[in-house]
Amino acid sequence: MSTNENPDALLPIDGEQYRFIAAEAIIFPTPADGDGETVKVAFSAVPSSMLHTLAAEDNARFMTADQMRRLASNLKKDNAITSAVLVYPDVESRKLIVLSGNHRVEAALLAGQQIIPVMVIQSYLTEERKLAIQLSHNAITGQDDPNILGKLYESLTLEYKAYSGLTDDSFNILEKLDIDSLAIGTPQYEEILLQFLPADKDAFMKHLERLAKPKEKRTYLLAEYEDYSRLFDAIVAVKQFKNIFNTAVAIRALADLAIERLQQLEAEAEVEAQAEPQADAKET
């Protein structure tokens, strides 16, 4: 064992297994210290700059944003971390690697706390054993009897209910209300879903199967993907030309333009048809 301990800072509790030590008295174990079965742990409080939290890809445990906000808010309220973080001193980086409590450290920093209470492993551990400790702290967390938990939760005021990280939805205590809206409903839009396929037979067959389903309410129009690109270009051109943003309105305008063009073509065909006998007359 290294001997960089500050004897004045030592407060032995139970032989050498648990001690309180100053941050500067933390030892960085090496293989030379041996891989004993008993893990020696010291308690300390260290500046957050000494800690190295696990990278996201090395930590299976994650928190939702709501949980992280809650935790940071709790730490800010307490102005303290109320459960110690477990760290392992890494001899190479001279940092304390956080094995358990990574989110607590992140939340403490968000709460503006710079001194973190830690339990420091003071024995040499193999990588495998460190990893096993890390996983076990997340996995072996026990279960709750929902009856007791619910009763305890219910005894709290709103502030501490929120603090607990539990909500009414953690328990089956809210009676569902069935309140209709007074609204009379929107216009009955006709929905057309355009499915565009690359020339892939399997996918095509799959869509045909969907078409055949009697319960499907939507209308499926199948087309080649290239056709959709042309339709897309046409809709976008109409939107830009007519300064329209809504797609349904643009499709309607596109249809109007198509009808207008058809009428023009019909008129042109009529003119041509009327002109044809004259040409014939010339020939004769």
């Binding site: 990278a55 944003a65 709103l158 209910k161 929120a162 809210l174 209300l177 309140i179 009379i184």
Partner: protein, 448 residues
């Protein structure tokens, strides 16, 4: 109909924390669409309920539920209703009013979409009118009100206190909220509208103090927290404004409703394994999958919002990160702009975050977004928060559009970046730009 309607999930909380069976009567302030009244009458049929509001919509329905009437005359854009032979009785006028309130969404706007919708309602008025009559026929018997006061909700509160009744108040969170919602209706329907002083939510603290001092049972909803008063109900969902309730009760209720992220199997990127021939794959993804990735790899306190298109980026089947686009709130940079809501990277090494940000400008991705939105997208904007003058991630690949200091100086700068679409595929971006510029040197360094 009502943009500020109290969510049912929040009303469920109100019913959990208050014991209405001990109330002599309930004075509901700012009734809106009478959701509370209907829930109250369903559970406590013998409880006397007195409603209140200032809007024509609520007042008409409230009067109908009290078997009272007032004059309603449709005019201006809604004059066609007045001319209909089937809109005569008060009941029929209230039904027509329900339709008019739905039409109001389109009546005040001039664009083609709104005009066509408004015309649709006019042409199919009878259909909607019949629906409204059916709705009233079903709803009014569910809410036999004992009284309705058309006027300032603060007067209703005073009346409740004098009567020894309980108070349930759901005042608007924003000043002038009702007035802006009902402008079209007020402009096109004549009715004996009440005079009242515009309510400012800043007054609420004092109002609650007064109600509390009166000894009356009460429950007042707000989005505000007060230093000297603790709420008994907290309702939070997504990024929406939280709802708090102040009430005389020993009970309390907390709800935080969020969509749960959905974990999926993936192999995280190891940049040391990249090669010049690595293959890039872009996969469209669901929001719940993106939320999972963001919960782990993005700033931990950001509440997620849903985008219009999500992509996961893989290199050699290893997940590198994800891209989420959303529609810009305002067309500040033109209508062909898409907002890059998130560009999350799993690994901070090898400038992979720059690769993802660059990839977000690829024509291959933007074409998919364009076709999904049926709108031409060729410009990407995003926002970076940094304590530096520039964001290292976007520097050199996006143009700095503008920069300002965050309201909280501790948050540093808020910088908007933009980039034109790049006519390159993800694979071309990797092979032509990323690998020679960043990837190769990183891998060589690792090897040495």
């Amino acid at each position: 109909m009502f943009y500020g309607a109290v969510p049912t999930a929040c009303i469920e909380q109100v019913f959990r924390i208050l014991d209405f069976s001990s109330w002599k009567a309930a004075y509901v302030c700012c009734s809106g669409s009478f959701r509370i009244e209907r829930a109250l009458k369903a559970k406590f049929p013998h409880l006397q309920v007195f409603s209140n509001d200032v809007s024509l919509y609520s007042s008409a329905v409230g009067y109908l539920a009290c078997h009272r009437e007032f004059n309603i005359r449709f005019e201006g854009a809604l004059a066609f209703i007045e001319e209909r032979p089937d809109v005569n009785s008060f009941f029929e006028k209230v039904a027509a009013l329900l339709v008019a309130c739905d039409m109001a969404r389109y009546g005040g706007r001039k664009n083609e979409y709104a005009r066509k919708h408004f015309e649709y309602y006019v042409e199919n008025f009878e259909l909607f009118f019949n629906r409204a009559k059916d709705r009233l026929d079903r709803t009014i018997p569910e809410m036999p009100l004992d009284g309705y006061f058309c006027g300032d909700w603060r007067k209703h509160v005073k009346q409740a206190i004098e009567s020894g009744a309980g108070i349930l108040a759901f005042p608007p969170f924003f000043k002038g909220d009702y007035e802006s919602q009902f402008k079209f209706i007020e402009d096109n329907i004549h009715w004996p509208a009440p005079d009242y002083d515009l309510y400012n939510p800043k007054m609420l603290g004092d109002i609650i103090d007064e109600v509390d001092a009166s000894g009356a049972p009460y429950c007042i909803l707000s989005d505000q927290l007060f230093e000297h008063r603790k709420p008994v109900l907290e309702y939070v969902t997504g990024r929406k404004v939280p709802h708090y309730c102040y009430a005389r009760t020993d009970k309390s209720s907390v709800r935080h409703l969020y969509k749960a992220p959905e974990p999926f199997a993936y192999d995280p990127i190891n940049p040391a394994n990249l090669t010049a021939d690595s293959q890039v794959q872009v996969v469209q993804a669901e929001s719940r999958h993106m939320d999972f990735i963001k919960d782990i790899y993005l700033q931990k306190t950001i509440i997620h919002t849903t985008g219009v298109a999500n992509f996961l980026i893989f290199i050699d089947k290893m997940l590198v990160g994800g891209i989420i686009y959303s529609l810009p709130k305002y067309p500040t940079f033109g209508h062909s702009t898409i907002y890059l809501l998130s560009d999350v990277t799993l690994c901070r090494e090898a400038k992979l975050s720059k690769f993802i940000a660059y990839l977000a400008t690829s024509k291959s991705l933007l074409d998919i977004v364009s076709k999904k939105l049926i709108s031409r997208i060729d410009f990407v904007v995003t926002t970076a928060r940094t304590h530096n003058a520039v964001s290292m991630k976007y520097r050199g690949i996006y143009e700095l559009l503008n920069r300002r200091e965050a309201d909280d100086p501790a948050e540093g700068n808020i910088i908007n970046y933009g980039s034109k679409m790049r006519a390159e595929t993800p694979q071309e971006i990797y092979s032509r730009w990323y690998w020679p510029k960043y990837g190769k040197s990183y891998v060589n360094k690792r090897k040495s």
